[in-house]
Symmetry: C2
Subunit: 332 residues, 2 copies
């Protein structure tokens, strides 16, 4: 350490003085710190990380940065990370399993202290993440989640959220609600369908299988379903979508076909993306609090690091709320 040389003292002492180690006398602390400033000393964080095998860095993997949806989760993570002296190394999976796997290894090889991941749509095998979890590296799952009960996860209130939306649609007088889901493998698909079914049961409404549709989130797969429903003798009078983006595709398609929203068909989404506020008509949706999901995920990581081996809640559910806009307001 140059600053030690300049002062004729050992690097050890300098290091300790800078860290306010109790052993060091006040006078040396002061003079060392002055010298540090004078020499514009900046510790080499790489060397420090290497020495303590602690990088003060978390890795974050999200599907993409194209929409506000995941980026605001990343924003939440980064915000809390920075408040707590952590850096953020980020990757995008582009919704591809193989990218995700590669990213996980890259981050682990880079010795991140923990991994915060929102899995890709394709991901159904979680070995790539479980190996590291078993080695004791904190892994936090957010939004789209590993069903494995060992993994700490931060999720939206999927079932309750869907229940709120469906209940609302029924209140608006809808009699036949179509639901557009993601792939069957996703937990969010499963949980939101559950909410849909719960409310139907509660009101003793018979469920029509034709009203339950799975997609891979692509535009075509979504439109295909809508068209199929439009061709039916008894069309649905409401469509509940797995995401706001999906809902926006649906709204545009319906408008193109000159179908009145919500008069003929009400539409609701899930997530509360910024977009939903801007589109015409405004989109009714469930606000999952994306930014808060990110913040909480990072907080969970911090808690786990502090707790070390203490008892830890595995699943953290983020409270959201129904956002009613014109796309579902049949009664004004």
């Amino acid at each position: 350490m140059d600053i030690g040389k300049a002062m004729g003292i050992s690097a050890t002492t300098v290091s300790r003085a800078l860290h306010d180690h109790p052993d060091i006398s006040l006078s040396t602390k002061i003079s060392v710190k002055e010298m540090a400033i004078a020499m514009d000393y900046h510790p080499n964080l790489l060397a420090r990380s290497f020495a303590n095998s602690q990088s003060q860095t978390v890795g974050v993997i999200i599907p993409n940065l194209e929409a506000t949806f995941f980026s605001s989760m990343l924003g939440g993570v980064q915000k809390v990370a920075s408040q707590n002296g952590y850096k953020v190394l980020m990757c995008q999976s582009n919704e591809e399993y193989l990218n995700e796997v590669e990213n996980v290894h890259l981050l682990m090889d880079s010795r991140v202290d923990g991994l915060l991941i929102c899995h890709s749509i394709e991901t159904t095998n979680f070995d790539h993440v479980n190996i590291y979890r078993k080695r004791g590296i904190p892994i936090i799952n957010f939004y789209r989640v590993n069903k494995d009960s060992e993994t700490i996860s931060v999720v939206a209130k999927n079932t309750e959220g869907a229940e709120l939306v469906i209940e609302h649609l029924l209140n608006q007088g809808c009699k036949k609600i179509g639901i557009i889901l993601g792939p069957r493998s996703l937990l969010i698909t499963e949980e939101r369908l559950k909410g849909y079914l719960n409310i139907h049961k509660k009101h003793l409404i018979e469920i029509e299988q034709s009203m339950i549709a799975y997609t891979d989130y692509t535009y075509n797969s979504i439109i295909e379903i809508v068209d199929r429903w439009l061709d039916m003798k008894e069309r649905p009078d409401a469509i509940f979508c797995i995401s706001d983006r999906t809902a926006i595709y649906v709204i545009r398609h319906l408008r193109k076909k000159n179908i009145q929203i919500p008069a003929e068909i009400a539409v609701a989404g899930f997530g509360n993306d910024l977009m939903g506020e801007l589109i015409e008509p405004g989109l009714t949706t469930y606000d999952v609090q994306t930014s808060k999901i990110g913040e909480t995920s990072m907080q969970m990581f911090l808690d786990q690091v502090k707790n070390e081996f203490g008892q830890i809640t595995k699943v953290h559910t983020i409270e959201g709320h129904l956002v009613v806009r014109e796309s579902s307001l049949k009664q004004k």
Copy 2:
């Protein structure tokens, strides 16, 4: 290196074998690689970075991740980074100068190989970045840019873009165009105003100072200007905004006041945020190609690293294009 021990050979040989060093015999290379796989060997990237003082990491600082605007630039950076074996360490300045300064130091102390930065609105002093540039660390500026000519920058065609928009508004029959800018200190403010002025001069239209307004991007400062214009005897018949977000604020405000867009007042933005496509009426804007700005920035970093001390173009301008939607279409 454990794998050396396991095979009874030196770590050096192992390292070289894994790196396909020409000195090593094919047979040892093969056996070492087999052993590496068998033992699931992963190099410690932290140690490697430390040893060669090369982290294979770039730091990126953006104002925030709330809107798609900056996040898609970050997405572009990360995409190209990952294609070239670089990692991305990211920070948000939240549009605050002090945060930005702190982030720069953090990233530099973390020994990133380069810094890609989009300055905060507040930033007018660039010393925090120039120190490191002078030390030879590649610094790339994107979108909002350091006026210092030494810095490599990747920017939108601000002046030309503004020219296209203004020309278009005039074509639509607008006679009096208000322009809402950002803070005076920003280069984008200056350059887009220049485009505005250029086209006015070209058509020999006198410029009214009252039609040129500066804001700090806040909702209130924007609405205040619009209200001032609305109170005038001769209102503008078009408003050109420094950003799409600004334009959306304007559109909403005008709609609240029951002013017809574009019939009474046409509105145009700049940037081509996703939002502009969703709002009603669709927003006319100039597409700056956010993602490409990010990609190019990373590419410029890579070029600089390869070129080492070769001659380098300082300013890279990304071609964009006019996006005409209903908010400005007076003639149908």
